[in-house]
């Protein structure tokens, strides 16, 4: 599979995921509408409101992420060496030059975000610039640019927003129960059943949606490692960079649950205990496995 078929497969997958989420969300809205007793039109209004909120957050997601992470944009004169690395790799990948942001934090980490290659952002911490040598930094930047080139940044933005939409709807529903829905005595039994399903869905659906998001995110990391290595033609650079990042025990302070999956390695530095259940909730595949795969290339 070459890089172009990867990109088109990724685009197809994006639509598939969006389609599945729409189906999922319609089901939820139907159940919520029946259960709250307000009827489907009220649930529809809830859907429209949260849809608009999500659409807005799609366009402003990069700014929100950068704001949350305290990142500052830099010019070429601020760090010509970093700019040269990014320029060269962009030429190699055939994508336009992204904007470059810096986070003032000594924990080594990096991420890419944006909607498409024309509106992309690569962000690195000052720690990663200090701790890695040129070949390792090239490996990391190539990994991030692969996320840009593969349209992972769009896929992940959309997935994150759909997960947010599911959570918002669950929240709306639970609130409407607080204020007490309209009761219709004759239909009480049917409504009771939907109420039970609705509450179960409201509790479970955000968790299910998050699990889907994490599974997608873990898969993308392996692909970005591979295509990043193809770009630099030097897998060892990224492998030893990941090794250094794994050894560094300092957590990244500006990272939170909403942004953790974006980074090249888990910014919390939590322990990975390896059980399948714990693995379901990991934002990243085990770093040792990634290094092993890179070294075997």
């Amino acid at each position: 599979m070459n890089i172009y078929s990867q990109i088109s497969a990724n685009k197809t997958k994006t639509w598939l995921i969006v389609g599945l989420f729409i189906l999922f969300i319609t089901t939820i809205v139907f159940v919520y509408g029946k259960a709250s007793g307000y009827g489907l039109s009220y649930a529809g209004i809830g859907l429209i409101i949260s849809g608009i909120m999500c659409f807005a957050s799609y366009y402003y997601s990069d700014k929100m992420i950068l704001g949350m992470s305290n990142a500052k944009q830099i010019k070429k004169s601020d760090n010509p060496q970093l700019f040269r690395i990014v320029e060269n790799l962009c030429i190699g990948a055939g994508i336009p030059m992204p904007k470059i942001y810096i986070i003032e934090d000594s924990a080594p980490n990096a991420f890419a975000t944006g909607r498409d290659p024309k509106h992309s952002i690569v962000c690195v911490t000052t720690g990663i610039l200090e701790k890695l040598n040129k070949a390792e930094l090239e490996g990391v930047i190539a990994h991030e640019l692969s996320h840009v080139q593969n349209y992972d940044i769009r896929l992940m933005s959309i997935v994150v927003i759909l997960v947010g939409l599911v959570a918002l709807l669950a929240d709306f529903f639970m609130r409407s129960l607080w204020y007490g829905g309209r009761r219709d005595r004759e239909k009480d039994n049917v409504q009771g059943v939907f109420l039970a399903i609705g509450i179960a869905l409201a509790i479970l659906s955000p968790i299910i949606a998050t699990l889907i998001q994490l599974a997608v995110s873990r898969k993308r990391e392996f692909l970005a490692d591979a295509s990043g290595a193809l770009l630099t033609r030097y897998p060892e650079g990224l492998a030893s960079a990941l090794e250094k990042i794994a050894k560094d025990k300092e957590p990244l302070e500006v990272a939170n649950n909403a942004t953790a999956h974006l980074y090249i390695a888990n910014p919390f530095k939590g322990k990975i205990d390896g059980s399948w259940f714990a693995n379901l909730f990991n934002t990243h595949p085990p770093i040792e496995e990634r290094i092993k795969i890179l070294r075997s290339m």
């Binding site: 070459n2 040269r84 060269n88 790799l89 030429i91 055939g94």
Partner: protein, 183 residues
């Protein structure tokens, strides 16, 4: 199903097949062209840098006339080069000429220390790295296109519409061979 329906479906499938394969070949060709213009941008940057470099070296070293002429000649041949193979060849010529030009700075301490020369040298090595990446991108596009063209059904459709394999932008011979040291 009636036989005519089966025939219609078969024809539709074949048409779609031809259509998609033709499109992938055509986009492949466009991408190669784009990638080549990416190389051209960097080659032009290098061509523009050479006169500056030659003048700087001239100011410090009077006895390297032949070397400077070589560089100027290689630059001229790169400017006039047409087609991928010729461009790659004259680019390699310019690279080796520039390499020996940079090497003589060792025997001219004033030149080696000059700020102007250091800046030019840095820019030159940056351009060279960018040429290497642009070449890599071009070659990966050529490889995609050529392998589509070599395998079925690309081979069939390609010969129907007279698509030919594209040339790689060859790496410098000196990059492949170990460095020879002469005394």
């Amino acid at each position: 199903m009636s036989p005519s329906l089966i025939i219609i479906i078969a024809v539709i499938i074949i048409v779609l097949f031809v259509w998609f394969t033709y499109n992938s070949l055509a986009t492949g060709k466009v991408r190669i062209k784009e990638a080549l213009s990416g190389i051209d941008v960097q080659l032009k940057r290098r061509v523009d840098l050479v006169p500056n470099l030659v003048n700087t070296v001239k100011g410090y070293s009077k006895h390297e006339k032949e070397l400077l002429e070589n560089v100027t000649k290689a630059r001229a041949s790169l400017m006039n080069a047409k087609g991928t193979v010729e461009k790659a060849k004259s680019d390699n010529m310019l690279s080796s000429a520039l390499k020996s030009l940079i090497a003589i700075s060792e025997s001219y301490p004033d030149l080696k220390a000059s700020k102007n020369f250091l800046e030019l040298q840095e820019e030159l090595s940056d351009i060279e790295a960018k040429i290497a990446y642009a070449r890599q991108f071009y070659n990966s596009n050529v490889q995609n296109y050529n392998s589509t063209l070599a395998a079925f059904p690309g081979s069939l459709i390609g010969s129907m519409f007279a698509y030919k394999p594209e040339e790689f932008f060859a790496a410098k011979e000196s990059e492949k061979e170990p460095v020879k040291v002469k005394f």
